[in-house]
Symmetry: C2
Subunit: 452 residues, 2 copies
């Protein structure tokens, strides 16, 4: 986003050499935390530490939140845990918990020990929650007001708490037991008569999420209702935190990446592609390859059953890549559409049958179109009508099964509680290889008499 | 999200029958627009129209924005264009333009003609922009203030304009030529001394997007800086609109879906999976299948060159699915990681070489591990050491090339301006089938003497 990053870095290094610290501070004030993070990422460890230390602690907290774990670790080494703990005190509790969650336990405890007791307590509380649940992404820095004060008084409270709150654009209303009873937006407070009671202008039907809701569902709620934040409640409807839209955006990016990686047959994490070590990349890919290997061997065993026919008519072998390739293609298409439909909520229990029927019909139609085409090509190419007939018919069966499996496998996974995205391209295609070759070899054995 | 949708619908139908319109209005007031939209979707056209007409126009506008195009068309048929035009007047200009952009030109012009001149003009202006650009997703309902007023005066302006503005949480500051010179958040206005001049407290370094920026880039800007809204400027830095975070969330969902579909080898749109006609599904899938078919035939031609060897050693055919399957798997993995890295900005010009090197190394390592494994299996299974050697060595070559192609093809596409996601699983796997079989048949021909 910043055009002249290298120039900026050169300038900062020059100021550093001149020990012109005021100039550096003045210069950095003009940039957004995200930009400063980008600049720091591209510097050497020693200079990075010096520049970071020149930021005031509030700004440093915002910058730290934007940095990747590698850069943060380098700052930790250069500046020491005491300094980083001071910055963590300034961070919002959810961001601090997020960051600490990435560290090994020992380092995490050292840093928590160095933080202020109150902040450390809040962060420790958040660390208890599953990192992919509402509790794991929420912040405890929200504004809550009692219902029996006036709009004017509420704005006064906001004036005081604004610097510490993550957002003041929604104000949550609680009763004496801290139970969530209403919500009012800052926008509504601004236009309200200052003497009105909050109780009379608040919305009583508040949409909230439970502290153990999965983060993907939280993202759906926020995006469905176009919220800027959503309150998080425990099982007694007591307000325990809020989740803001910027964190939801991160969730949406991460969940989409996770689905894309799983569909592509690897479990690699999105966080830092280039930083991921090769050993980790191998580890995330090998399990999928083992599945494919096993299925490849089964497919080979199926072909072994066709040994005599293959020996008699070698041309049968020429169509193996065509059949498996096109079947895999159709299966991947169906699986992709189904997995994404499940992720966006487009497919639910009400229309699951129509989805299956639809894919079945699509498979049959694609099979007929492509079967006629491929069959004709095989006939002309190998000058053998029977071979063309076998290949064409195998294509119809193959594509029908492929489309059906592409829809059924992710749906079944969802039903039994496995992430449907695990029904990835490699998994689906390899399974379809087996069924496709079974159909092909059955047909070949049936009609071998006419081939010779 | 709403648990008892069917019960709610039954209740509404009962009230309708009793002509108890007050009760219906009172009942619906408790629900969010998104929930009312969900309820309406599941009703019959006639009753849907009656309920929709009972909503006050402001609420109806919010509900209309949440409905899919099929349901809106049904409302249009039941209630007539005049009524819908009245609701469009109440919608924010970007949502109205979005909706009208989905209609055929004639209907669009009819509706624009029936709308109030001022609203219609704004909407028409927005319809000029590319729907995937900043101009296409922005709204013109923002709050802009001059820089020489006080904070107190600014809040007063906000009080008046709040009902019409899309967001008042960011207030943009413009000069006499409507050029963007600053920004201040409502939060900052609230805590500021009412007598301070805006000029003295506003942020002068405003991050804005250009009206023709691609929506995917806009989403990156908003998510990078954790903004609730971003201003849109023309080429003279004049403020022409704003884009709010809720629209950005829609963009992120849509772009992720588009990538996922393309990776899966179909161009189907996400909007309304179940509503997409089969004919359209076929149309989006067939082009990819033709590519696969062509490549399958080429792969067949490669095998044809191995005809004599296959006749002599039929077992060579048994390993075709294993080789193509595993090669395709590695290629898909590499392509997925690369495409997603490009989409999230993780991969850029600075690290493209290290990405290629990394995938190459991964391919070689995966090839060696799997080659040894598969080769040993082939040896034991077919009791033929030479066959095991050929299959194992082919696997090494195949996986190396597969990983390299998986990274290079999307990178090349990006370079020449094609969406890298087009380097989809089917495209990559089919190409890898050909190279893999070329390697395999070359090795088989070289070593056939030892096989017999």
């Amino acid at each position: 986003m910043i055009q002249n990053k290298q120039e900026i870095i050169q300038l900062l290094l020059k100021y550093l050499e001149e020990q012109n610290h005021d100039k550096i501070q003045e210069f950095l004030e003009k940039y957004q935390p995200a930009d400063i993070a980008e600049i720091l990422k591209d510097m050497d460890a020693a200079e990075r530490g010096k520049i970071f230390k020149l930021l005031d602690k509030g700004a440093a907290a915002l910058v730290l939140d934007m940095l990747d774990i590698g850069t943060i670790t380098s700052l930790l080494e250069t500046l020491g845990p005491q300094y980083i703990a001071e910055i963590l005190n300034e961070m919002s509790s959810d961001d601090a918990a997020d960051l600490l969650g990435h560290f090994p336990e020992e380092l995490r405890n050292t840093l928590l020990g160095l933080m202020q007791a109150e902040d450390a307590g809040e962060v420790q509380g958040l660390l208890e929650y599953d990192i992919e649940s509402a509790g794991g992404i929420m912040t405890t820095e929200y504004v809550a007001i009692p219902k029996d004060i006036t709009a004017g008084k509420a704005i006064e409270i906001l004036r005081k708490t604004a610097p510490d709150a993550e957002t003041i654009y929604y104000v949550y209303v609680v009763d004496s037991q801290n139970r969530l009873v209403g919500v009012i937006s800052l926008r509504e407070l601004i236009v309200a008569d200052p003497d009105t009671l909050i109780e009379d202008i608040m919305h009583k039907k508040v949409i909230s999420v439970s502290v153990d809701m999965d983060q993907e569902e939280v993202a759906e709620v926020v995006s469905k209702y176009d919220f800027l934040a959503v309150p998080v409640v425990d099982h007694d409807n007591r307000l325990v935190g809020i989740i803001t839209v910027d964190d939801v955006i991160d969730v949406i990016y991460d969940e989409a990446s996770e689905d894309i990686f799983r569909l592509g047959g690897s479990t690699e994490l999105v966080d830092d592609y280039v930083g991921t070590r090769i050993s980790r990349a191998l580890k995330s890919r090998l399990p999928w390859l083992s599945v494919t290997m096993l299925e490849g061997i089964i497919a080979g065993q199926v072909l072994r059953g066709l040994e005599n026919e293959l020996r008699a008519v070698v041309a049968l072998a020429f169509f193996i890549p065509l059949l498996t390739g096109m079947g895999g293609n159709v299966g991947t298409q169906s699986a992709t559409v189904t997995v994404r439909g499940l992720a966006t909520g487009d497919i639910d229990e009400n229309n699951v049958l129509s989805v299956i029927f639809r894919e079945l019909l699509t498979g049959v139609l694609l099979g007929i179109i492509n079967g006629i085409l491929v069959g004709s090509i095989a006939w002309v190419w190998q000058k053998n009508a029977v071979l063309g007939f076998i290949v064409g018919l195998a294509m119809v069966g193959n594509m029908t099964i492929a489309a059906l499996m592409g829809a059924l496998v992710p749906l079944t996974f969802k039903k039994v509680g496995i992430d449907p995205a695990v029904a990835s391209a490699p998994f689906i295609t390899a399974s379809i290889d087996i069924t496709g070759l079974l159909i092909y070899s059955t047909l070949a054995r049936l009609f071998i008499g006419f081939l010779l």
